[in-house]
């Protein structure tokens, strides 16, 4: 248990030491929702109660904030890292021109979902973005990819701005796709193979960064 705790979590003190930020900064970022409330995990330790963070997530987030804060205001950063959608609409031409996804992905999406409109809002861009990643991963055939995108798009709205994780698993050649709340704790029998899994908030974050960079240029 102890070993587990060390590798996955980092205490507040260690975090401040490692990153060089102050308590004031940490609390400011928490107030601005740049660091989500549920990353502050209270655990009892020998000095009383201590706060721990999911190590990988908090380090990458702080790194990101440090890199962005010279060019962007804290509110802008908060907007970028929040799971809430932003108001953007892109046409097909723009998507290709801005290099958000490849033309191949776009054509596949149109084919899979019979999407005949020329414009894509944020959610649609997210579907494209995830499709792009899945296609690039090269782990699945087109029918399976189609199933994933359909499952995701049909169910995504049910999570209503809450974070979720997309799974694609396989056992003896039978494949299953599903969505689950994130964070989750899912365990399967040992024959199950995880082919693909992705946390949606991470995708949203990456997509927002991608869009923002594109807007700036």
């Amino acid at each position: 248990m102890e070993i587990n705790l060390d590798s996955e979590f980092i205490s507040k003190k260690e975090l401040l030491d490692l990153t060089g930020i102050s308590y004031g900064q940490l609390y400011r970022w928490k107030r601005k929702n740049i660091i989500p409330e549920d990353w502050f995990i209270k655990k009892s330790s020998f000095t009383g109660q201590e706060t721990f963070f999911p190590k990988e997530k908090i380090l990458s987030r702080i790194d990101k904030i440090k890199n962005m804060k010279d060019n962007l205001s804290l509110d802008d950063i908060a907007g970028m890292v929040s799971p809430n959608p932003v108001n953007v609409v892109y046409s097909k031409e723009e998507i290709i021109k801005r290099n958000i996804v490849t033309e191949n992905t776009l054509n596949n999406y149109v084919l899979f979902q019979n999407y005949n409109e020329n414009y894509f809002d944020f959610d649609k861009l997210l579907f494209l973005f995830i499709l792009d990643r899945i296609l690039k991963s090269g782990e699945m055939n087109l029918d399976e990819v189609k199933l994933i995108i359909k499952t995701f798009e049909d169910n995504y709205s049910k999570y209503n701005e809450k974070d979720c994780e997309l799974f694609f698993i396989r056992k003896f050649g039978v494949s299953i796709c599903f969505l689950a709340n994130y964070p989750n704790e899912i365990n399967f029998e040992s024959e199950i193979k995880y082919i693909y899994r992705v946390v949606i908030s991470n995708c949203i974050e990456e997509l927002k960064i991608l869009l923002n960079i594109n807007i700036k240029e």
Partner: protein, 246 residues
């Protein structure tokens, strides 16, 4: 939201109405709005209950107001008594009377001259008080300036500049005492588990752990452990069991 074509609502008697969008709302009698409402300005002199969500630019409560759902205000002034059962987003909150917030409060500036009770967390850029507060969750504010006139408690306090000092003006105590008999005047101090910040100055504070860049302990404190980075000063009239430079 400045829409001039919305109607004013003025209640002098007792009534229940559905919500909606109004310009100015003035309640001298008793009003219950049974669903969500939006308005520019709400002024309560009598009794008001909002069953749905509230969204307003300006609010002034001289009587009593119960918000049974989420509220959003640009500015809200409580002179009487108010209860919010939902989440609160209030940019500029001034409490001169008594207020209880059952869920999280997010604000830009909070000024407390009366009594406030919060059952969850309080987030604000500025938190100033000359009254009394009880925060069951965490007080997280950029600038925290507490002038102690009664007992104040918070589970945890975090921020940039934190200053807790004993109030000096006695007339103020008398003033609140005459209004709120339940006020505890003989135990004028702040009680919390953890205080973490950049610049910390404390008087009459009881805490388990104080962590900061620069920590100055004034008179009347009882602290188990101070962890500091750059500076630590302690008054002779305080006890700090242990201190550690980190």
């Amino acid at each position: 939201m400045k829409e001039t074509n919305n109607k004013d609502l003025k209640i002098n008697g007792i009534t229940n109405l559905p919500g909606g969008t109004f310009n100015n709302v003035k309640i001298n009698g008793q009003l219950t709005l049974t669903s969500d409402f939006i308005c520019n300005d709400i002024n309560v002199n009598g009794m008001f209950t909002a069953e749905g969500k509230t969204k307003a630019i300006k609010g002034k409560i001289n009587g009593s107001a119960n918000f049974n759902n989420d509220v959003e205000f640009e500015s809200l002034n409580i002179n009487g008594k108010s209860l919010v059962k939902g989440e609160s987003k209030i940019k500029d909150l001034k409490i001169e009377g008594q207020m209880r917030l059952a869920k999280n409060l997010t604000a830009e500036e909070i000024n407390v001259f009366g009594i406030v009770n919060m059952n969850e967390n309080c987030n604000s850029e500025i938190f100033k008080t000359k009254g009394s507060f009880t925060i069951d969750g965490m007080l997280n504010a950029g600038t925290i300036d507490v002038e102690l006139h009664g007992r104040c408690t918070a589970n945890e306090i975090g921020g940039e500049k934190i200053r807790i000092a004993k109030g000096s003006k006695n007339y103020f105590n008398k003033l609140i005492k005459s209004i709120f008999s339940s006020f505890n005047f003989f135990d004028i101090r702040l009680i919390t588990n953890v205080i973490e910040g950049d610049q910390i100055y404390l008087e009459y504070t009881k805490a388990s752990i104080v962590r900061g860049d620069s920590v100055e302990i004034g008179p009347g404190c009882e602290i188990d452990m101070v962890e500091f980075k750059n500076k630590f000063v302690k008054s002779e009239n305080s006890t700090v069991k242990e201190n550690r430079k980190i």
